[in-house]
């Protein structure tokens, strides 16, 4: 558990070896690139200019990506990006041309088929509404004296037709929710006026394609046949493409991956600056990789690497790389949800891993249900390759352990009794409904412990960052810790009847820490700058302002000590809630006959697992973020993103 130490690396070399240098950076998998000239340093960059060339690989990559998409080749599953014989841009262009030659005809034909299917399908849909016509379109449109229009008329407008005395007919063939589908006809000499009338009635004309001649039924059938024939052809083409993908898919994937790698590597040039035929770039690497990184550049003859302390350039924010063991690694995503710690901060992942697992086990304690969660976690890890699987596995195990303590197996509260007898305990260690007070007090005690540890972490971080207000005088610093600990000890003493508070205790351990918290800003200024000042900004407000402001802040701090501690009551609450919900399931089960009981038990368990599991998971995240992280964790850091690693992730 910790944060990896970093080094700032400046690399410069001949422009002719830039690609090689970038490649080495990517291959190293540990180079976090930064712009060679930061925006704020533009004025003093000493003539360095950032490279801003157009990436020549991008159009090829886009075309190849589109080709892969059309062939159904999953480019994201490419594993390796090394391919012989593909060094220059023209190698890729030639390969793409060969693919075009082989597949272009098939893909274009399929596109044409799709277009035709779409057009014919739309015509068929319209013709379907005209089925009642029973006359050839050719005959209809060839009438010498009659003017005919096919289309749809709003139902409301249909009712208005009787208002007109002009000679025309509207023959509906079909009706849907809003329209009558049909045709109107009139003599050719009345054409203009009748068209105008129908236009005013919002008649929408259907334009029948010239290829349609027969009756709507026949034409509809023919169109359907055409659509089916075209669909079959599409299937044939798809099969041919699938065969091609099977035969050449891996090769295409590999070459595409290489092309994307080249494209992305070229994109890195926007972080590189040049001057007098030499390139300059910089970035961070983990200190532990210094030697191996240096070795990788042994064949880049012109390159010079200089390693500097990470804080050498104040403009650059040092990235954070978290170090985590196997147990805490799955919890990184939870921590990152809040934010990455700053470089000189503290890595809270192990603490989160322990508390999250522990709290989940307590709140969701059931041996059987825990086993299900554990199995689900294993399934997700090994079969679905889901990163949350490992987290579930740990939580499931913890849930099983506490389930054993609570004696609960899928809600059967006495199913484990023989086991306890066998191991010599006699009965289950904790009978939930008999020990509610104990459970609630224990929950608060756990909360006190977690809050105290959070404060200690804050003190450590404060000292690391030389922030004395945070470390010593703040509400989560030494003063806050002493105050909180003393109050808790005093309360414990009062509850157990062993009161050991006296005037000295109150003054030393309660009043003085409170004064420190109240005056945390001037005290920290005094320690840091050896002078007395009420606020960081000189002249900001007077003593009155200082007292009012800090009075309310003190009030808020004191309130938060109480509310944050009591917030952990929910841990005990969920223990009771879980047991209560399972009791309901058992009661419902007993109300039904034998055959229904297993079904109710299964459904009930599934329901409780789904609902409560989710709520518990969310509640613990809430506890971690509000009660714990708010005390010591800022999450203002930036993650360490080595170029090679991100490219490899892209490719994979």
């Amino acid at each position: 558990m910790g944060i990896e130490k970093m080094l700032l690396v400046n690399i410069d070399g001949s422009m002719s070896e830039l690609d090689k240098a970038l490649l080495r950076c990517c291959e190293s998998g540990c180079f976090h690139i930064e712009p060679a000239v930061s925006k704020s340093a533009d004025q003093r960059s000493g003539g360095l200019s950032m490279l801003s060339e157009k990436n020549p690989y991008t159009p090829l990559m886009r075309e190849m990506s589109e080709l892969c998409r059309r062939m159904g080749i999953e480019t994201d599953k490419t594993i390796n990006y090394s391919e012989q014989g593909f060094d220059t841009l023209s190698d890729f262009a030639d390969y793409l041309q060969s693919l075009r030659d082989e597949l272009g005809a098939l893909i274009n034909e399929r596109q044409e088929c799709y277009k035709e299917i779409s057009e014919k399908g739309a015509t068929a849909k319209q013709l379907h509404h005209l089925m009642g016509m029973n006359t050839d379109f050719e005959q209809v449109f060839n009438c010498k004296h009659a003017h005919i229009r096919l289309g749809k008329l709003p139902i409301d407008s249909y009712d208005k037709l009787e208002y007109y005395t002009e000679t025309f007919f509207f023959v509906p063939f079909d009706k849907d929710k809003q329209f009558y589908w049909g045709m109107y006809f009139c003599t050719k000499k009345d054409k203009i006026i009748v068209d105008e009338i129908f236009s005013s009635l919002y008649f929408e004309r259907i334009r029948i394609p010239e290829s349609v001649h027969g009756t709507p039924e026949r034409e509809y059938d023919e169109l359907c046949d055409d659509v089916n024939r075209l669909s079959l052809r599409v299937e044939e083409i798809n099969e041919a493409l699938v065969r091609f993908s099977e035969e050449r898919g891996d090769e295409i994937r590999r070459i595409y991956a290489l092309l994307r790698f080249k494209n992305n590597t070229f994109d890195l040039r926007k972080n590189v600056a040049s001057l007098n035929g030499r390139f300059f770039m910089k970035g961070f690497i983990p200190k532990s990789r210094k030697d191996s990184f240096k070795k990788m550049f042994s064949d880049v003859n012109s390159a010079t690497l200089s390693f500097l302390p990470p804080n050498s350039e104040p403009d650059l924010k040092i990235p954070t790389k978290l170090k985590n063991g196997w147990f805490s690694r799955p919890y990184i995503s939870l921590v990152e949800m809040y934010g990455v710690p700053v470089y000189n901060g503290i890595n809270p992942t192990l603490f989160v891993a322990i508390t999250y697992t522990l709290l989940f086990g307590i709140m969701f304690g059931d041996l059987g249900q825990g086993l299900v969660v554990l199995l689900a976690g294993l399934f997700m890890t090994h079969k679905l390759k889901n990163k949350y699987g490992a987290l579930l596995t740990r939580c499931g195990f913890s849930s099983m352990a506490f389930g054993f303590v609570f004696g609960s197996l899928f809600g059967f509260e006495h199913a484990l009794d023989p086991v306890y007898k066998a191991i010599g305990i006699g009965e289950k260690p904790i009978e939930i409904f008999d020990k509610t007070t104990f459970i609630l007090i224990s929950a608060v005690a756990i909360g006190v412990g977690i809050i105290a540890i959070s404060m200690i972490m804050n003190i450590v971080t404060g000292f690391k960052q030389r922030d004395y207000e945070k470390a010593i005088f703040g509400c989560n610093g030494i003063a806050g810790f002493v105050f909180y600990g003393s109050v808790i000890t005093a309360v414990l003493g009062m509850l157990t009847g062993k009161s050991f508070t006296n005037t000295a205790y109150v003054i030393l351990l309660i009043v003085i820490p409170l004064v420190c918290i109240f005056c945390r800003v001037p005290f920290s200024i005094a320690v840091k700058y050896k002078k007395w000042q009420l606020s960081e900004d000189e002249g900001e407000g007077g003593i009155g302002n200082f007292i009012v402001e800090n009075f309310f802040e003190m009030f808020e701090f004191l309130l938060s000590y109480v509310s944050n501690t009591l917030s952990f009551l929910r841990v005990g609450g969920f223990v009771l809630c879980h047991a209560g919900m399972m009791l309901v399931v058992m009661t419902i089960m007993e109300m039904f006959a034998g055959a229904a009981q297993p079904i109710i038990a299964v459904v009930g368990n599934l329901f409780v697992m789904a609902m409560e599991g989710m709520i518990v998971a969310i509640q613990i995240i809430r506890l971690e973020f509000y009660e714990v992280f708010s005390r010591f964790y800022d999450g203002d850091g930036i993650p360490f993103e080595p170029v090679g690693e991100s490219l490899a992730t892209d490719i994979e």
Partner: protein, 342 residues
């Protein structure tokens, strides 16, 4: 205090009001560039989604879309009326009455212009079967006298007789004033007879104020654009307003449009807002009426809420039509927005 079913209706209306277009919806709508975009946007709106679900946004006609929206409002009010079993109370048929009057005027206009087909084309089909007048039959009339004869057995006998009494000088404007006066008379009478006194008073106040505003706008226009005389202005004003005879006379006697503005600012401050935005006097009128309707909507009187909702829905339909028209004529979005009252 209303009855239980009144409260149910009020709740229903308030829920429907909550689904209406909001200012932000209007801002989105005015930014659209074509009818199909407007239609698509309305199609995704909770109020119009059901109405437009089967409409092809690419082929829909402007007039048809407007007709569908008006029909939707009309159907809503028929449903609300029937929900309260108030089919036989004339007050709850106000919308039908208004549409009847509008259509009679359209028919008269088509008779004067000799373009009967224009009336049939513009006639809202959803009125068929919903009004006591036989419009298909009436549309066959070729003269005002013939129309008056056909309307003999209806509530329009008297106004048609008044129209016929004008004799040779009969014109559309004269017919309009008589028919609109008749409409307002019926509405005010129905408010008096069909509604409890307290409710009636609220609504009647709102109707009379609306009439005043309409009269002021008409008088101002006559003066500003045609420099009409006192008697010409007086002839076009509808009765029943709240302004009183003395003030109305004084308004008509104002020598210039500017004097009219000054007179209104002093003597009828509610209408002063009409002149705040220069050319957009119609929009300002709609805004004043909208304000009054929103006020009525907040009351606990069911007829007032019903009446207010009716005005709000009509205003919403007008806004949508302004947007569609604005887009059709290529107006910039800020100009279209100036035409809207919301």
């Amino acid at each position: 205090m209303g009855t239980g079913s009144d409260k149910a209706t009020i709740t229903k209306i308030r829920a429907m009001h909550g689904k209406m277009l909001t200012p932000s919806d209007y801002k989105i709508l005015v930014s659209k560039k074509s009818l199909s975009e407007v239609c698509e946007c309305l199609k995704n709106h909770r109020k119009f989604a059901g109405l437009l679900s089967d409409i092809d946004v690419n082929t829909v006609r402007r007039g048809y879309l407007e007709q569908l929206i008006r029909k939707f409002n009309f159907d809503t009010f028929i449903k609300l009326r029937d929900f309260q079993h108030l089919k036989h109370e004339e007050f709850y048929n106000t919308l039908s009455l208004r549409y009847e009057t509008e259509q009679l005027l359209a028919l008269i206009s088509s008779i004067f212009s000799g373009r009967k087909e224009e009336f049939i084309a513009g006639f809202p089909p959803y009125l068929i079967g919903k009004t006591k007048l036989d419009f298909p039959g009436l549309s066959q009339s070729t003269s005002i006298a013939e129309l008056a004869k056909m309307l003999e057995g209806t509530a329009y006998k008297k106004p048609m007789e008044q129209i016929m009494q004008i004799g040779e000088g009969i014109d559309y404007l004269g017919c309009e004033i008589i028919l609109r006066t008749h409409y307002h008379k019926r509405v005010l009478k129905s408010i008096k007879t069909d509604l409890p006194e307290s409710d009636g008073e609220l609504i009647s106040k709102a109707v009379r104020r609306e009439l005043d505003i309409r009269n002021i706008v008409n008088a101002y226009r006559m003066k500003a654009y045609f420099n009409a005389s006192r008697s010409q202005i007086k002839d076009i004003l509808l009765p029943f307003g709240r302004m009183g005879k003395a003030k109305t006379d004084a308004l008509c006697e104002c020598p210039t449009a500017q004097d009219m503005q000054d007179f209104i600012r002093v003597n009828y401050p509610v209408a002063a807002a009409l002149f705040e935005k220069g050319d957009f006097i119609e929009t300002q009128m709609a805004e004043i009426n909208l304000k009054s309707s929103k006020k009525l909507l907040r009351t606990q009187s069911m007829p007032s809420v019903y009446f207010a909702f009716l005005s709000l829905c009509e205003n919403e339909a007008d806004n949508i039509i302004h947007i569609i028209e604005g887009i059709r004529y290529g107006l910039p979005s800020e100009k279209i927005e100036e035409l809207l009252a919301y």
